[in-house]
Amino acid sequence: MRLGERAGLKPAKPMRDVFGEALLEVCRRNPRVVVLDGDLGNSTKAETVRHAFPERFFNLGIAESNLVCVGAGLAACGFIPFITSFSSFLLCNAYDQLRLAIALSNINAKVLGSHGGITLGKDGPTQMGIEDIALVGGLPTFVILVPSDPASMHKAVQAAVDHVGPVWLRSSRVAMPHIYPEDNCPFTIGKANVVRQGSDVTIVGCGIMVAMALDAAVILAEEGIQARVIDMHTLRPLDKETIIAAARETGAIVTAEEHLLTGGMGSNIARIVASTHPVPMRFVGLADTYTESGDPEDLLRKYGLTAEHIATAAREAVAAKR
């Protein structure tokens, strides 16, 4: 069954294509936005800007450390750089540069970490960003955004430009179905969206897992379990209020992320829940393992990231309430 089909969500184009369009849009609107590429513009889709605004597009080649610092220098000149590459290459080759030149300097730079998660599929685990959220988590001044559908990607790119300070934006190669009407997606940094009401359990997802959580909510509803679904599009700052309200009002929380469980969204939400309104929690994500090449759907199934896995976790969390 297609992702989002149970929940009646319409299919959409790949998120990287949406990113390319959104980036071009902010470049049209704001002449201070410049784009830096680590020779992957045709994969991240940052190349849209290369064609439209060649003078504001810089390919720095396959040299991520230099890429990040050149971006930081441009930010110091008053530009708003979008530094773009695969999240795994940026974070694993240029963590030191992200740390000193951007995070510690607290400058106004934006980083697009594409190919987050495992759904890039066939290129395999060398290219997958399964630890990106954990690593960016170690850069405390970064806002972290994980859009879940085309409309939220457009809003996230704009919000990243409007925010003054470092922003990490996670993108994916895969298509994510429409969750929001294209012209009506609420998006405030640090304010999560409740995309389905429910009173028995809350499923908090980000990225592709939001559509999956909505599918799971349909499965659960057939069994009489009403699941609330939250789109946690901002992983820092986390929306504590919405999390605490979910704990108080639904009494059980499941988190779902296309990322390692260690150091991911779920563990940060658990810290908030444990220290405010403890309720049973379950966590859907990647165990401490690398994955492999394969069709995205096969990978999601094999590594435990499906609507069925979320539904199972939700049943367990609900059962643990009693």
């Binding site: 720095l60 080649g61 610092c69 220098g73 441009l74 110091a76 030191d96 510690l104």
Partner: protein, 278 residues
């Protein structure tokens, strides 16, 4: 403060260098930590830049968009940077004595945004040249004609990122980007030639497409001449290899590379002061 190229008085600049060395001594001795020897080796380079009519800057308008940039890539020489910025009037000299104390903007290594005149956060070596290239590209987009000077340590040139930046700067024909290498021949654990040799060093830079000048890094007049010469280079970035002495000015520090990350004891500092005032 701005010095015109005509009015440079080398004798006055030598006195300035002496005074900066004393400030570096006092700062690091009071902090009981820091890198005095790495700071002393680049004093004349900083004096030539800030007081030799090379850098265009306005201490009372530190972020003047048209200013020339100076990036201290070898961040452990922060005491030298702070001393020259204070002497140039960016902030009160009194701040120098708060080096490495809690609540002070005078951090152990430079942090962008805390002090006027500090252009970059450095201390993890290898990043400054890339940052400088970013300023060059930003200047092009802003249609400003400033120059960007980056001071590199010699040990720092072992870092791969320096050569990523070198390759990119030549690719972008960044002829307003000027690297200066404080080639004092020592890194933390010993002589460069023994630990991780850089030679043939000039050929490496040339191979990456850079114009190279070589100079005695303690001869202020020669430094000024070299800094003027690289301004004439067109179509390629330039580097000045400044041959220096680590710990310059204090004999027993010059003779002992283990002073790298170590301040002088009060007794040693008293002897150093005598030598510097001689």
């Amino acid at each position: 403060m701005m010095v015109t190229t005509q009015s440079v008085n080398i004798q006055v600049l030598k006195e300035t260098a002496r005074s900066l060395r004393l400030d570096i001594l006092d700062m690091t001795t009071k902090a009981a930590s820091g890198h005095p020897s790495s700071s002393w080796s680049c004093v004349e380079i900083l004096v030539a830049l800030y007081f030799g009519g090379i850098l265009r800057y306005r201490a009372d308008d530190p972020w003047w968009p048209e200013r020339d940039r100076f990036i201290m890539s070898k961040g452990h020489a922060a005491p030298a940077l702070y001393a020259v910025l204070a002497a140039a009037g960016y902030f009160s000299r009194d701040l120098l004595w708060t080096l490495r104390q809690v609540d002070s903007p005078v951090q152990g290594h430079p942090i962008q945004g805390l002090l006027p005149g500090v252009e970059a956060t450095t201390g993890s070596l290898g990043q400054g040249l890339s940052l400088g290239l970013g300023h060059v590209l930003g200047g092009r987009l802003n249609r400003l004609n400033y120059r960007v000077y980056v001071l590199l340590g010699d040990g720092e040139c072992q870092a791969g990122q320096v050569w990523e930046a070198a390759m990119a700067a030549a690719h972008f024909k960044a002829d307003n980007l000027h690297a200066i290498v404080d080639y004092n021949k020592y890194q933390e654990t010993g002589p460069i030639s023994r630990e991780m040799a850089l030679e043939p060093f000039i050929e490496k830079w040339q191979g990456f497409g850079w114009h190279v000048e070589e100079v005695d890094g303690h001869d202020i007049a020669a430094l000024i001449q070299a800094l003027r010469a690289v301004q004439q280079v067109r179509g390629q970035p330039s580097v000045i290899i400044a041959h220096t002495v680590k710990g310059k000015g204090v004999s027993f520090v010059e003779a002992d590379y283990t002073f790298h990350g170590r301040a002088l004891t009060p007794e040693q500092a008293a002897r150093a002061r005598e030598e510097l005032l001689r």
